[in-house]
């Protein structure tokens, strides 16, 4: 059979399209010149500048705290929702829960952000909580939209999970809560880790929702980046991007290595 050369060529072009901008970010982060697109010699000065920028550092710290907290909350809540939807059969409000746990997926960020902000303002007027806005409100907002993604991931895993595993545990004398923690959670753990990582990334990435629901003093990393980028080029952002890419690459590398090792250890 004649090998088709057009398809691989197209695929290579596709990957160039995906990676060229990222590579240029990395390259120009080591650029001496302030003009991000003109090469002025090798330098690491933008990294130094970045690390001396308290605004970026504190925003990164806030973003990290928000992402970890909301990813964890979203994983717990999303798993519960998925479990209820796949395992509880009919109950009152099932259709409502189905709708509410899928809708955030297609909800534009601007609407999610605006509606949550208005809720927080109204709640503050009515019950005095949350008093002002900041990290707490961002965490709540991120948890809400990340939860939907966890629900989707967990739901498909629950659906493909052999229900007789849970029945077997019950048959051997385990009560429902025991079954959940002894069998269900360990078996679907990879999906839960995937859901957590997805939530973590989405939270770390979010600009729009956080901009709406934040308050004074709580600027997340994307908000700082956005305000800098909007004003034009800033080489220290390139340095920041390179650091983020490096962390992600290392993380993915470790994950792949772990998975390979796990696969080898389990003999397949």
């Amino acid at each position: 059979m004649r090998r088709n050369v057009w398809l691989p060529a197209f695929v290579i072009l596709g990957f160039v399209f995906l990676y060229a901008p990222i590579l240029s970010l990395i390259v120009f982060s080591f650029n001496e010149s302030k003009l991000v697109t003109v090469w002025g010699g090798f330098s690491t000065k933008w990294y130094g500048e970045l690390l001396r920028n308290p605004q970026i550092l504190s925003a990164a710290w806030i973003s990290l705290k928000v992402a970890v907290t909301s990813a964890t909350l979203a994983t717990v809540l999303g798993t519960l929702a998925a479990f209820v939807l796949t395992r509880f059969g009919p109950f009152k409000g099932r259709a409502l829960l189905t709708g509410m746990s899928a809708a955030p997926l297609v909800m534009p960020d601007v609407i999610t952000g605006l509606s949550l902000l208005l809720l927080f303002v109204a709640m503050e007027q009515l019950i005095g909580w949350p008093a002002g806005r900041g990290m707490t409100t961002i965490i709540i907002a991120h948890t809400t939209f990340c939860m939907a993604y966890v629900t989707v991931v967990a739901q498909s895993r629950f659906a493909s999970l052999d229900e007789s595993l849970e029945e077997a545990a019950m048959d051997l004398g385990a009560r429902p809560a025991r079954v959940f923690f002894d069998v269900t959670v360990p078996v679907i753990a990879p999906a839960l880790v995937a859901g957590w990582l997805l939530s973590f990334t989405l939270s770390l990435d979010d600009l729009v929702v956080a901009s709406f629901v934040t308050g004074p003093g709580a600027s997340t990393l994307p908000m700082v980046i956005f305000s800098k980028v909007r004003l034009g080029v800033s080489p220290d952002i390139n340095a920041l991007a390179t650091i983020i890419i490096a962390i992600v690459a290392v993380g993915v590398g470790i994950a792949t290595w772990q998975m390979r090792r796990g696969a080898r250890k389990n003999g397949g």
Binding site: V11, L114, L119
Partner: protein, 312 residues
Amino acid sequence: MSAVIERVAPLRWTAALLAALGLRGRTLVIAVPMLWLLIFFLVPFLVVAKLSVSEPAIAMPPYLPLVERDGARMTISLSFENFGYLFDDPLYIKAYFFSIRLAFFSAVLTLLIGYPIAYYIARSSEARRSVLLMLVILPFWTSFLLRVYAWQGFLRSNGVINNFLLWTGIIDQPLVMLQTNFAVYLGIVYTYLPFMILPLYANLVKLDEALLEASADLGGRPLPTFFHVTLPLSMPGIIAGFMLVFVPAIGEFVIPELLGGPDTLMIGRVLWNEFFSNRDWPTASAVAIAMLIALVIPIMILRTAQQRVEEE
């Protein structure tokens, strides 16, 4: 679980509260995610709906209450003026149709680029498949904002592309690419490409090789085989991918803001400006409600298509 609950104070309090409300066991498990979504997802829309019919005011928060107590008398002031604006000012209607059109064509472009890639990955050997898939997903894990920013550096008049083209002598004047609709298309296709490739791949990888062999055996050349077998069978993947690109692209804010020009009026951007620049919360709410209603139609169409394809 009980051990964890006893150790963490807020969980303990919540458990005590829920138990006091008579929520135990099964009901409790349903109630936790249900209550969260009711409070933080459903109620906010009611608040938006309420605000969209309030009158703006220069205050904090910048709107007038709906219900005013004047001694023993209560007056309810509903104002549909905010919605009136949306129809009076062609800006909003234009923004709406522009967003739909842009999102639609972006999704089509993403499909055209994503399909061959997904197809190639699905037909690769097992080992190569996982590497390629990782390469598709990897950009997604790096910041979305930074990837859009990278395109700014590519597209600006003294950017990488123009410098390259000037250097090769293909052009002698820098092309204007940034702050155009072209840049917005590019940005959307670029950032949403993984969302198109992944569902397509998931569908194509399940395709039974024997079907392709059967078609070849019956005399189908590669191209007819593709159009008569592969493509129809991958419809669910196409629709799923289309939905994942088209729907969020309608409400996109960051890409038109950073790559588009002042006339790239996407509805998400309009809402943002209404809220942050004009500080007009009621109009922003009205835009949100209108946007929501507008979104329902394409989503319904896609869902129906999806259901029909899945039934077959």
